[in-house]
Each structure stands twice: as C-alpha cells, then as structure tokens.
Symmetry: C2
Subunit: 518 residues, 2 copies
C-alpha cells in the first residue's frame, strides 16, 4: 500500500452521487467496499489432518508428477529449478515446490482506476466478483440465448452499480457475436469503459494476455503496472495433473508482468479427481502449489492466489452437481491449506445446477456461499449471476445473488459488544415506562435506521399486500430491479484521450487477427 | 438409555420395508436416524464476550426481574426458592437461577413408540422436526387456505416418510375445522396413529397438557412415562420479561410429569427486545434460564431445553424478517450460552418470510439452517414446511426443505481420512493406466454409489432434457413428490385395542369440552 497510487483517471466525485444512485436503485445502505471480516473463521480440520494431506501431496508430486504439455520453456524452468523432467512429465523432490512458494506475497493490492475501488487480496478480506465464462444468458423476458457484447456490457454495468460486487470480474459472459480471436479486446475495454472497479485479463492465449497487459499499461502507466497489480487472471489446471501450454503461456505473461494469477484446479470429483474429499484435496494441493511455484520461477514475489473450483457429480448421468456437501468440505479444507502456505485463497461463489433462479438455484448457491464466507475465501468468482452449471449468466440471478451478498457482508461485520450494543439502558427505560415493547425507547429510536440488514428485493409485506401487488416471486422482482438499474446507469467518466487511444489500439490489433470462431 | 424400553406397540418389521419405501419415493439412501455430528461447531464468540452477556443477564434479573401473570402458585414457588416477589414481579438474587438449573440433565432420550425412532436430545445431536403452528396451508394446486385436520394428517404422514425428519413435531398446522378446545386431542392422536416417530404435546392450556400426558400414558404405560420422556413441549416466554399463567400452567404439568419442555423466548428484535444482538441475547438468557429453573423447582432433573426463536423486523413496516444476519449471530451466541449452562439447545429451522417456495424462501431458509447445523442446535423445530413467516405450512416447501435437510445430515458426517478416503492407490492406478479421468479406477467403482449426497428433487439434467421435460422449477417437482408420497403412504401398525382406547378417551373428553372458536 506504500506504492505510488496513480492519479484517478477521469474519475468524478464520489459519495453524494453514489448515495443518490443507491437510493434510486434499491434503497439499501451500500456496504463500504470489500469485506474485512470481523468474525471468526470456521476451520473444521485439525493440523494433523492437514499435514496428512500435505504429505500425500508431496508424495504424488514426487512419485507421479505433473505433465506440462507443448511447453518446452516451462520444462526448462523446472529442470533448472531442480525438478526431475522426463519428456513432458515433471516430478518434484519433496519440499521443492513449497520452498519455491516462499516468495509469494501473503496479500496484495489490486488497483482500480478509481482508487476507492482498490481491493486487498488476502488476509481477512473477501472480494466478490461476478460470474465468469457462460456462453449463454437468460432473463425472464427473452429466455435463454447466446450472449452478446451488449449482454457483456450490461453485466459490467450491473456489477458496477452493485455495492456488494467489489470487482468487475472477467468473462461475465462470452460475447459470441465477436470473433474469438478479437473478443478479449472488447471485454477488457468494456471493463475499463463501463466500470471503474478492478477487473480481469484474458487467459485464452499468451498474446491475448499480452494485449490485456498493454491496455492496462495505457490506463495505469507502464512503470506503475510493472510495480503493482492491476489485473488478476484465472489460470486453470487441466486436472488431473496436467497443465497445457496455452494457459501456462498466459500464466507466464502475467507473472513476468507482475500481474496476479489465480491458479485453479477445476475439478469434478469422480472424473478429474478421486471420488473422495481427501483424495481430491491432495490433488488440488499438488496441482495448485506447482502452478503457484511456476509464477515464482517467472518472477519471485509475483502476486498469486491459490484457487480451487471443485464440484461433485452425478455418478449416474455424469452431470456436475452443485450445493452438495462434499465440495463444501473441500472448500473449508482447501482454505486452511492455503492459509498454511501463506497464499491468498480463491473458491466459492453462487454455484448452482438449476436452469432457473428458483428455490433449487438459491439453496445450491447458499450452500456454497456460506462456506465461502465462513471458510475465509479471499477472492470469490461467480459470486453473482451463475446459473445452469456455469453455462448461463442470468440477469435475475445476478440481482438475487448481489442482494444476498450484502447479507453476507453485514454478517461479516460481526456483533457490537459496546455499551450501545449491550443496551442495558434500553431495558431499564422499557421497564420504567411499563411499555410491553421497545419500539419507543430512546435506544431503539437512535439505532433503528442501521439496526438490521435490509434486503433490496425480498418481500416482507402482508399476504394481502403481496396478493394485491400481483403475487410476484423473487425472480419477477429481480427482473424489475435490473431493468431499473440499467435505465439509471451512468458511466464513470473516462478521460477522452485515453478512451480514444484504447479504441485506436483495438482497431489496429483487430486488423491483424482472424475472424474465425476459434 | 439404561431405562426400561417398552415393547414396541404394534410395530412391524423395519429395514427391508423401509428401504423399499425409500426407493419408491425418491431413490435416495435414507440417513440413519437423527444427526450425530462428526464435525466441529462454529463458535464465534469468546469466553469474555459470553461472560459479559451472562453478567448482564444476572443484572437485569436482579434489577428488573420477570412478571408471572395470573399464577399465584408460581409466585409462591419462587418466593420459597429465595426470589424477591412483589406483586407479580419476581426479582432474582445473582446466582440463584443458575444454581437451580444445576439439576438439568445435559441430554435426555425422548422415546418413540417405535424404538428405532427414539432421539437423544443434547450433546452432538441435531434433531429435525417439522413446522409448528401455521393456521394456513398452501400447495401449488389449491393455493393458500385455512388448514384442516386432513392437512394435519398429511403433514404427519410426510414427516413419517421423510428420513431427514427425525420427529413428528407438534402443531404441524392448526386444524381449524375442529373446535379450539378439542383439537389438541385430534392432533396428539394423529401423531400416534399416523406416525411412530416422537412427537409433541399441547401447551395452549394446562388441561390440554394433562390430556396429552394421559394419552401418552395410554401408549407407553404410566410407570414408563413417569420415568422417561415421551413428550416434548414448546413453552414460549411472553417477551419482554413476562410469563403468562396459561403457558406456565402447561410447563408445570409437563415438568411434574417428567416430560420435556422447550423454554423459548419468542422475539422479534426491536419490538420484544432491543434492536441490538447483545441486548437481545441478554434478555433471551434471562428469560430462558428463569423458565428452565422453574421446571427444576417443579421436579428437579426434569428434562428441559434452552430454546430461542429470534428474528429481526422491518423497522419501516414492523413485519418480521427472516434469513437476515442479525438472528444468525444471535443463534450462534445463544447456542454457546446454552452449552455453558449444560442445557440442550433449540433454535433454527427453515424460516422465511416469502409467500411462495421461491428463491427468497430458499435463501432465507438456508441462512437459518446453516447456523442451525454449524451452531450446534440440538432440537430444531420448523425444519420443514415453514412459509410466510410461519403463517403457512407449505406442502412444496416441506419437500424442498426435507431434501435440503438430508444435505445437512450428510455434511454433518464429516470427512473420511481413512486409507480409502486418502485414495492414493486410485491416483497411482489412474497414472499407471494413462487415463485422463478416474471414472474407471477400482476405487471409483468401489465408492461411487455412496460417494456423493444425492438430492431427491433437484434437476441436474442437460438443458435440452430439462426443456423437453416441461421446464419445471423446483416447486413443480416438489408438488409431484408429496403427492406420490401420500399416495404411497402406509400407516405404521397400531395395536387395535390401544387405538380403540385412545378413540374412546377422545370421545369422552370431547363431550365435556365446548365447541367454540376460543
């Protein structure tokens, strides 16, 4: 945090405008920035149990090892670091990987173009980012359809306007109306143009990662980017026990540019790992720690996050399942393993398999979000908008999730044990007046505005009011909310010269890129 | 557990029939009885913080005290115990209440007429019981309407057939088609007749409590009932700081008959307590401990549960709100306070304010059920079927909740760290075969049947399958499930002589009771 902070880029005054916007959209007091947890973590696993997993991970790294596919440079990096390299298989003497990981920063700041929105990744912090990756979108009016760049911009705008989304995310949906080789430019540009929260770069090819870094340098300045994190980037392992050259190529671009990577084994237990939690955790730890170590071979001290995405599967149909108990156990344990390594942790989100934002979607999401918060996730992708196993970005689910995230943010503030919190005077006053309730006490009058978290979209009216208002369910209210938010949207100011430069860069780059679908 | 166990009353063989029934209804492996937690608790509050609350509770008990309305006998009990009694106000010298509570059993068995369904209340156990109290019911076909005795029987049957409901509950809905003064007889009889799980007695008047005990004695035998708990009964404090004679009358009947009471301050914070969590907890502890102590004045060693029902409220409309963060804090802390007293704890449930079993209902329910499980609730009322702030027993919500409860039951089993759980051999086998997945390993083949929790009603099919199947949301699937369950229902055998005696008792009692509506 002692690093030079760039002058905000064309940012207008906050505060008053923010407050008015919040009051226009949902009348809820906005949370203040990302979550700094003031509650204890739930850490259900003992040191002995965690050591067992660590020892087993070392064992399989030494005995089985990990393949690095189509990537001679990385094989050389590992050979020089002391690993045993045979063909594409790399085996790791016990202790080697952990020893390389010692240069990982325990926490780091990701800077936003509006410094109010900087986030500190690690420690007691939790950062919520939107859904990542769906090729489809769904809303109540249009149903399910392929996503476009307009949808992409809409989700960026909704995240920008949602106080519980601390981050603009990355591929909030795949804009399939733009050629694959070009769309990363439009995605990065949209995050810069339509939001001033921190965002993610492209990882689908090393040159797309280079483009992301180039655009970030245009916004933040070359020297600043070399010294500070302004991009965070999702690198998946190709589980089990494989990294492919494309993703690792992006990893190396970002690590060498001092930008953050989230090293995430993506696992459906039973297929990409064993069906048991401890076996899955062993593999996650092995894969993640090797990816993390590789960032440090590229640039010691480069910011990096221990990521995991683990779900169960239907052993009958092979379909991934969400909100089940087994991935919750994996999340809690992986979080403890990451803390023992001293590396910030990514997992969780509002994951679900449901096709609609119904009770199934909500239960499954809640069953991941409770472990997300209590387990101490630092960076939470997919916190809002995820539907249908990640195939769909849902407008209504985004609103419902974002509302629930404010609940978790309030929960994380903990309990006030001050004299005001103890409220003995209120009890004495109530007794002295002989009233049968506390509504009129001075204490209640003083505290009631901020006493309870308020949802922006749930219905707590009487049955008769609700009936007369059309018997709306939660998704119908959410539909009205996102439409009003998009209608009310005002873009954060972006310096016109910078905007033109970014657009000129995109035009020039696109001329060199193919129009195909892959 | 060393007490004499009565011969099962007309019970038929279990096991095979149960397994067949489960396979007919939802193809999910039924959990084995109530939950014996094999996971750590989440205990976010420090000893210092809990002591502060305890000291403040002692302070208000001494300084403010509690009113016992229309109940001269109880005032005498307190006077003789050393309390300061002025009119209906009882004040308690510091330490008195806690000292009387020392005879409370840390755990106790509630016996069912089928001993397989006995439950142990306390310790590491969690028992789920259905919703309690709603005057209305709702289902997808008939909408919202007043509840009848047929609805009551239906919910008893559904709880009987749901492996995650460990208890038949009490007023699963109010059968408003039967006169108020008579309906307790039909309710108790229905629990005995249509289920063989443990159940609750009537508390709405002392003589109705006597009737409940009489019917229980007919089932279990007089001597057995005097020595063992066969009824558990919900006693609410009239918060703030009042107990009324009717409820306390029922409390005394049950305690003297050695039957369990659940002493529950029922609180909407802001109205019946202060708006702050610590103030609310102070009052809950004061009220609950006095009610608990009173059971011990009636009969030292009588089984009793520290209960609480706390919700927040909309400070704009005064409506109760559910699934909010403040009651979650209260639940976690109250559970810790109860454990420090050595008294089993009741709270939680699938609480919600929603009018429909939609995403709002699910989120709000999950936000109470996660604290219920991780906080260590021993007896959980309202675990299934609660809708609309407790005004409605919902058929579809019951099914959705019961399904989620099996998820929590599985989560509570914890993680397998055995050699089979570690699964190193599976990783070696997968590597040796060169397969890119674990599906074919011997370990997967051996474990896949039981590897993952399976929901009975969620949809995890492909989008195309789901679409072609009619785009059903969770409530539509739940509607089909409860109808099939009721169609498949088979009553547990009840000895014909006992059945006739119970019915004869009811007929005779009803002749003496009025037909009015109050």
């Amino acid at each position: 945090m002692t690093d030079l902070q760039p002058a905000p880029i064309g940012r207008r005054a906050r505060g008053g405008a923010d407050a008015r916007r919040a009051s226009r959209t949902n009348q809820v007091v906005p949370p203040k920035g990302y979550i700094r947890r003031n509650i204890m973590l739930y850490e259900p696993f003992s040191d002995d149990q965690l050591e067992l997993i660590e020892n087993n991970a070392e064992l399989i790294l030494e005995e089985i090892g990990i393949d690095f596919r189509d990537d001679a440079e990385t094989l050389t990096l590992w050979k020089n670091a002391g690993a045993d390299v045979k063909g594409e298989r790399v085996r790791f003497p016990k202790g080697l990987v952990r020893s390389i990981c010692k240069t990982v920063p325990r926490e780091f700041t990701q800077y936003a173009r509006n410094p109010t929105n900087n986030v500190v990744v690690g420690g007691k912090n939790t950062i919520f980012a939107p859904v990542y990756g769906p090729p489809f979108v769904r809303d109540l009016d249009g149903g399910r359809r392929y996503a476009t760049i307009e949808d992409f911009r809409n989700f960026v705008k909704l995240a920008y306007m949602s106080p519980s989304l601390h981050h603009s995310g990355g591929t909030v949906c795949e804009p399939v109306d733009i050629p694959v080789a070009k769309r990363h430019l439009d995605m990065v540009y949209s995050h810069i143009k339509y939001s001033d929260k921190p965002f993610m770069g492209s990882v689908t090819a090393p040159e797309r990662a280079e483009d992301s870094v180039t655009m970030a340098r245009m916004v933040f300045g070359e020297e600043f980017v070399d010294r500070n994190c302004v991009l965070i980037n999702l690198i998946n392992a190709n589980s089990p026990m494989v990294y492919d050259g494309t993703m690792v190529g992006a990893l190396k671009v970002y690590a060498r540019a001092n930008q953050a990577t989230v090293i995430s084994p993506f696992i459906l237990s039973g297929a990409m790992s064993t069906v048991t939690a401890v076996g899955t955790l062993t593999q996650i730890l092995a894969e993640a720690s090797v990816g993390i170590a590789l960032t440090q071979l590229c640039r010691p001290g480069a910011p990096v996050v221990f990521g995991t995405f683990a779900s169960s599967m239907s052993m009958q149909s092979g379909a991934p399942t969400f909100g089940t108990p087994e991935p919750a156990h994996v999340l809690f344990s992986a979080a403890q393993l990451a803390r023992r390594m001293g590396v910030p942790f990514r997992s969780g989100g509002g994951l679900c398999g449901s096709k609609l934002p119904d009770a199934q979607a909500a239960h499954e999401s809640a069953n991941t979000l409770w472990p997300t918060l209590l387990g101490g996730v630092n960076f939470c992708l997919h916190a809002a908008g995820w539907l249908e196993g990640g195939l769909v970005s849902s407008y209504e689910k985004f609103i419902i999730d974002a509302d629930q995230l404010t609940m978790f943010q309030r929960f994380a503030e903990g309990v006030d044990f001050s004299e005001n919190g103890q409220a003995l005077e209120a009890m004495r006053e109530r007794n002295a007046t002989g009233e049968a309730h506390f509504l009129g006490t001075a204490h209640t009058q003083k505290n009631f505005e901020s006493a309870f978290w308020r949802s922006g979209i749930t219905d707590n009216n009487s049955y008769e009011q609700w009936r007369d208002d059309g018997e709306k369910d939660q998704s119908v209210r959410a539909n009205a909310t996102w439409k009003k938010m998009l209608a009310d949207y005002e873009a954060p100011v972006l310096d016109q010269g910078l905007d033109e430069s970014l657009q000129a860069f995109m035009v020039k780059r696109k001329e060199t890129l193919p129009d195909g679908v892959s």
